[in-house]
Structures are given as structure tokens and as C-alpha cells.
Symmetry: C2
Subunit: 148 residues, 2 copies
DNA sequence: TTTCGATGGTTACAAATGAAACCAGTTTGG
DNA sequence: CCAAACTGGTTTCATTTGTAACCATCGAAA
């Protein structure tokens, strides 16, 4: 192992990215084929389905999206009449977003599919491996949080 | 925990993507600031630095990039005179890519920075956590490979 | 050979993205 | 009170990306 060579195959940032990319891409087929959603749109749907009502800023924080992504995703879902905006009483800059019946229906349809996807992925692992995955992800998340 | 709700915060594909995105984005600052490289360009540089000579197709396989990304990254690195193409003797469709002196110099400069980045990331973890990360990543890679 | 399907690689075009400018509207400090 | 700094959210513009079509060459089979 020469010291001035970087092995891409074992370089953690690369491996992690490739892994996430593969899995995310595979999962995206579900909401893409099903409803023609983009990832930001799916996350918006998912966030609002989970929490009920959120502002765009909260959505961005909860689902790790840049505000322009949120803005565009919200606009598209509104165009589909999957969500509505309600002006805030006290602060007129803020809008409270919530799913409509149609949006909620789409969400309810997606949830089992998402859960099944995750389950099938984890089922391919042994118990120890599953623990390593969950523990490893949590550990890295923790390491990144405390940083900056 | 309601059964028809998906918790994004604990949904593996989402967590993994966010993790990889954060780390990759942070790492990208290194090669972006330093040399103004994009990720595909960095991977191309890294791949050729590691292996010496490769065709575009091989590069794509080794670094998990779509062929158009490879094509464009190679074009840009060639424009910088960081790599050269050599026609294959037997198959005129194929080109063998290799770094020039300048390309190699850039690569040699990047390697320690990349290694330091990875080391500093892992240093924030305990030994057990580190094992979990490495084991978990490997397990998922294995699960994805054997699949399709 | 000739033809036809595969393969290496590039290009064209549309869609997704990020950075920065922007437009309200709100708060703060003088 | 008022200006300046700040915040929620949108828009603009340049860059990046993915898909599909494309060109050239190759290999195999008729």
C-alpha cells in the first residue's frame, strides 16, 4: 500500500456517497413512477404528511433541503392541489403549509411502499450487520452535528 | 408510533443520503477551493492517479459515474492539460487516459488532504463506532451487489 | 463480404440545482 | 419614530445533471 495513493474503493466519503446514491436512486423509482415526483417534492409530501403543518423554513430544516428547493417543491405540489398555504396571523411573511385530501391520499399510499422498501433492504442483512448499519449511521450523524 | 406515518428522521434512505451529502459537500470544498474541480473531475483525477491508465469506460465503472459525466470530466481535465488520451492500437473506439506531470502533481497534492479529511472524520468516533461504520457500509455494499 | 447488433464515447436538449439578488415584512437600536 | 439589519420566501441566472439520440468502430453470423 503506497503512502501517496488514495484508494477510492475504500475511501469513506466516496463509499458513502455511492451507497446513498444507489439506494436513493432505487427508492426514487417508487415515487417517480408512481406520481412523477422529484426528490424535493417527495420530501415535502413526506414532511407534511408526518407533521401535519409546517412553514417552508421548518420543512427545509426537517428534510435538509435548501430553501429554493423547498420553494419550488411547494409550488409544484400546490399546482397539483396537494397542499394549501395559509397566511400566518401575526407574521405576514410566513405561510403555513398543509396537505389537502388529495395530498394526504398520495402520502398514505406512499408510506407502506417506503416502509416496505426499507424493510426489504434491511432484510438482506444479518442481525449484526443491521446493528452495525444503524449504529454506524447514528455515530456519523452525531459526529457531524457536534462539529461546526 | 402510528402505523401509517413515516418518520423521515429515522428512514434509512433519507439518513444515508443526508449523511453522504453533508460529508461529500464538506469534502468537496477541498478540491473546489484548491483547484476549482467538480466532483466528476476530482474522481477522474483520483481514479487515474490511483491506477495510472484507464479507458473512459473503466473510469466510469471504478468511480461509479455515468458515461456522460466521465466524458465531460475528461474533456475538462484534458483542456487543463492534466491528462492525455492515447488511441488504442487494436480498437480505434477506445482511448487510454493518463495524467500528465501537471495532473499528477495536482493529484499528489490532493491525496494527503483527502486522507486527512477522512482521518479527522473517523477520529471523532470511538473505536466501536468506527467499526460499526466500516462494517455497516460494507454490509450495505454487499447487500446491494448481490441483488440485481 | 455484408449486414446487423453491440460497444466506446460524444453531443443535444430538457430538467434539476445552487448562489446570489431580490421583495416583502419585521425587529432592533438610537 | 425611523433607519438599518434581519428573516421568510421567491426569482433569476449560470452551472450541473440525466436521458436519449447520435457517430464511429467493432465482432459475429449469414
Amino acid at each position: 500500500m503506497e503512502p501517496d495513493i488514495l484508494e477510492l474503493e475504500s475511501f469513506l466519503p466516496y463509499r458513502l456517497y455511492r451507497l446513498a446514491d444507489t439506494i436513493s436512486r432505487e427508492f426514487s423509482r417508487i415515487y417517480k413512477e408512481r406520481h412523477g415526483l422529484t426528490r424535493p417534492e417527495w420530501r415535502t409530501l413526506s414532511g407534511l404528511g408526518e407533521r401535519g403543518t409546517m412553514t417552508a423554513t421548518e420543512l427545509g430544516e426537517q428534510s435538509a433541503m435548501h430553501k429554493t428547493k423547498v420553494s419550488r417543491a411547494v409550488a409544484e405540489l400546490e399546482r397539483r392541489r396537494w397542499l394549501t398555504r395559509t397566511a400566518d396571523e401575526n407574521d405576514r411573511r410566513v405561510e403555513h403549509l398543509a396537505l389537502t385530501k388529495a395530498g394526504l391520499a398520495a402520502y398514505r399510499e406512499m408510506v407502506p411502499l417506503a416502509k416496505a422498501f426499507e424493510r426489504e433492504l434491511l432484510e438482506r442483512l444479518s442481525v449484526e450487520e443491521r446493528m452495525a448499519v444503524v449504529g454506524g449511521v447514528a455515530a456519523l450523524e452525531g459526529a457531524l452535528e457536534e462539529k461546526s
